[in-house]
Amino acid sequence: MIHIPLLIGSIGSTAALIAAILAMFEKDLLKAIVLSGIESIFTAFLLVVLLAPDLLIAYVAVGLGINSVILIYALLRGERYEE
């Protein structure tokens, strides 16, 4: 019998790594912010799988919502495309 949390944890960490690599080579900054959203979602998924509920509440409130909003608000003053 395989241990299910480690199996879905390995799938989630692989998806987070691929999303981070794609976000690093992306020229459009708005797309890069949305791609880092995938990484945040799979991080929350791993926190549930690794049994950390109190950490999960703090991360959902901070990392999943406020980080993207702050970055989009700072991007409004500058340019969207990176050369």
Partner: protein, 93 residues
């Protein structure tokens, strides 16, 4: 009463179905040609995550993991609002 051991036949199949759907949504978010496509798929991905919270809670059999579902469901659509605001403001400049 139905015993908790009877869930062992149900839960691995349900968890694998929802994980498969999450992986296919992730492919669309990574590929999507424009920004609204990606945000739309990201919302569906987050709603899937809420269901997976409940299933993992039933798998471990402890009630404290389910508390993350309520703030997550309240924060899902914050990214929609700010991406829409960015698109409208950037058009105006």
């Amino acid at each position: 009463m139905v015993s908790l051991a009877e869930l062992n036949y149900v839960l691995p199949a349900a968890i694998s179905i929802f994980t498969l759907a999450m992986v296919i949504y992730t492919y669309r978010v990574m590929k999507g040609p424009t920004v609204p496509d990606m945000v739309l798929a990201l919302d569906a991905l987050t709603v899937d995550l809420i269901v997976l919270f409940m299933l993992i809670t039933l798998y471990y059999g402890t009630p404290y993991l389910a508390i993350g579902a309520i703030p997550l469901s309240a924060w899902v659509f914050i990214l929609d609002i700010f991406v829409a605001k960015y698109l409208l403001e950037a058009k105006k400049k």
